[in-house]
């Protein structure tokens, strides 16, 4: 259904086409249910609540009082955003029945915009993973090829948009968890500047890297959605003081004179599949034809980014996940005879293998005797990466790279190889380490599977980022391609 594929189509159908929000939401719920066996994008639907909210949206529209462009439109959210009175699991056994008494700020802002959350999407447990295979509920499958992963950790949200269940879905990105699944699933995925969207209510993985972002089919839709959730929040001490940016008005379609930097370290033939580099090069050529200038730049510390990321992220995660102990909420091991027994068994039963691996690594990295060599060192390398970007942005307006070195891999292909899995993040982690906004957009296919073009902009410059993305989409049709599904 077209109205489930784009915000513009939904708005037209609702405002002029006689479609009600209740009908639209019902269509979304039905499609989710129909595709559930094939895709398993959702962890939980909120059918009754969604239909009730849809009726309220219909009443508002009839009164001529829509709250925003998203009013009455079905959306999906990753199951690591807490919702008051509803279960949030983070795809983990240790939270399997946790009901939050409060709403994440992003959730309350969405509610204020009139958007209707139809369900919570699947993810890698606690957002740790790049394939959505680390979910206690089982993996989500890529709509383009169900034997393959949709990427991760926000695989469920990416698949939900790619499969036309909702036009917009929200996820989180710590090392690429929005951009990489966007790339694998052939949709647009945006990670804003660190601090743009409040983390209040986002279950923490790595506090200095986590950021909430959005999936959509187009840059325009992504811009509309981001405007609703960005902006200062006093409940998050790392929240930037700036109010929500005006993004839609920045989408002029004009890139003449804009300088696009191409970092040589990201275009090394040995580092990526040839089909991927080809598609990305064609994409930047398209932008050049539209009037942009291309310039080679260098980000010399790129080879160290993944290592730095994994040291910092796991260190912070090991501390953030210490609260899951069976005392105040979540899973508790039965029949514990002592406190120690309670902790050990609850946590060992409750966490999956990847989460345990990262907790152990992170604990090691912070532990006495290793802190300087690992954690502190990684934070220093992080400073060098930030400087790399500052220098590069002195010579260009945006940076273009492949989002991933490859296309979607087969389910189970990386099961025993954590390092190989981590290396897949090589192009995405730097943006998190430097706090930069980034977007992945579909720019073609390789062996039938979507390839993503990544754009990165300086801090707080989502406007330029999305302007370039939108300009590209005005001239190409890759973002209109749809996987074949029932």
């Amino acid at each position: 259904m077209e109205a489930l594929l784009s915000l513009a189509a939904a708005r037209t159908a609702l405002d002029e086409g006689g479609l009600t929000s209740a009908e639209l939401v019902r269509a979304s719920l039905e499609r989710a249910q129909a595709l559930e066996p094939a895709l398993h994008a959702f962890v939980r639907m909120r059918g009754e609540a969604a239909l009730r909210e849809a009726q309220e949206a219909d009443a508002r529209r009839n009164r001529g009082e829509p709250r925003s462009l998203l009013d009455g439109v079905p959306v999906a959210v990753k199951d690591n955003l807490v919702r008051s009175g509803e279960t949030t699991t983070c795809a983990s056994r240790i939270l399997d029945d946790f009901v939050s008494p409060y709403d994440a700020t992003a959730i309350s802002r969405l509610a204020a915009s009139g958007a209707i959350v139809v369900g919570a999407t699947n993810l890698d447990e606690f957002a740790m993973g790049s394939s959505t295979e680390n979910s206690v509920f089982g993996p989500t499958r890529n709509p383009w090829d169900r034997s393959r992963t949709p990427g991760g950790s926000s695989g469920g949200s990416a698949a939900a948009v790619a499969a036309g269940i909702v036009p917009i879905a929200f996820g989180s990105d710590t090392g690429g968890s929005i951009r990489q699944p966007a790339s694998f699933c052939g949709v647009v995925g945006v990670k804003p500047t660190y601090g743009r969207v409040s983390r209040w209510g986002l279950v923490a993985y790595a506090s200095s890297l986590d950021q909430i972002g959005v999936f959509a089919h187009s840059a325009t839709d992504a811009a509309a959605a981001l405007e609703r959730i960005c902006g200062h929040d006093p409940r998050d001490s790392t929240s930037l003081p700036e109010p929500a940016p005006q993004l839609m008005s920045a989408l002029t379609g004009d890139v003449s004179g804009l300088v696009i930097g191409l970092p040589r370290e990201y275009f090394d033939a040995a580092g990526a599949e040839p089909g991927v580099l080809e598609a990305v090069r064609a994409a930047v050529a398209e932008l050049e034809a539209a009037g942009a200038k291309l310039r080679e730049v260098s980000l010399p510390h790129t080879p160290f980014a993944v290592a730095a990321y994994y040291l910092i992220a796991t260190a912070e995660a090991s501390s953030n996940l210490a609260r899951y102990d069976g005392v105040r909420y979540g899973h508790r091991a039965a029949g514990a005879t002592s406190l120690k027994d309670l902790y050990l068994r609850t946590r060992s039963e409750g966490f999956g293998a990847e989460v345990k691996r990262r907790i152990v690594l992170g604990t090691y990295v912070l532990s006495a005797g290793y802190y300087d060599a690992y954690y502190r060192k990684a934070q220093q390398v992080r400073t060098l990466l930030r400087r790399d970007f500052e220098q590069a942005f002195a010579a260009c307006d945006v940076i273009a790279t492949p989002t991933c070195p490859e296309v979607a891999f087969a389910l189970g292909a990386r099961a025993d190889d954590p390092v190989r899995m981590y290396l897949g993040d090589v192009y995405t982690v730097s943006a998190n380490l430097a706090g930069l906004p980034g977007v992945s957009l579909p720019c073609g296919r390789h062996e039938g599977l979507p390839v993503g073009l990544q754009l990165l902009a300086p801090i707080l410059d989502e406007a330029t980022l999305l302007r370039v993305a939108d300009a590209y989409q005005r001239r190409t049709t890759h973002h209109l391609a749809r996987p074949e599904l029932a």
């Binding site: 200095s208 994994y310 040291l311 406190l339 400073t383 706090g435």
Partner: protein, 101 residues
């Protein structure tokens, strides 16, 4: 420094309040060694005189006014608890000296 001693793995696993059988410890030891090996690449970077990043974007320190909000309904506060007694959380008896570490 390649590899990590089995005892050290055990110590860290215990510090993180996880318990693992031998097979899991084997795997963990192997995975950690592989990851730490990979991470050793950072040794090649000259970071002398470089400040560690504490926050990517410098912010003025947010400080909030000392105005209390009404507390949570105590029933809601313990609503998710696996075990309660009245409005208190319950855990197995703590042996003194178990604290910390």
């Amino acid at each position: 420094m390649s590899g990590i001693a089995r005892d050290e793995v055990r110590r860290i696993v215990a510090l993180a309040r996880l318990s693992m059988d031998d097979a899991e410890l084997d795997r963990m030891q192997r995975d950690l060694a592989a990851i730490l090996d990979y991470v050793e690449t950072l040794d090649a970077v000259d970071t002398s005189g470089v400040e560690p990043t504490s926050h990517v974007i410098p912010l003025a320190t947010p400080q909030r006014d000392d105005v209390p909000e009404p507390p949570m309904d105590p029933d809601l506060a313990v609503a998710n608890a696996p075990e309660v007694s009245g409005s208190a959380f319950v855990v197995p008896k703590v042996i003194s000296g178990e604290e910390e570490g």
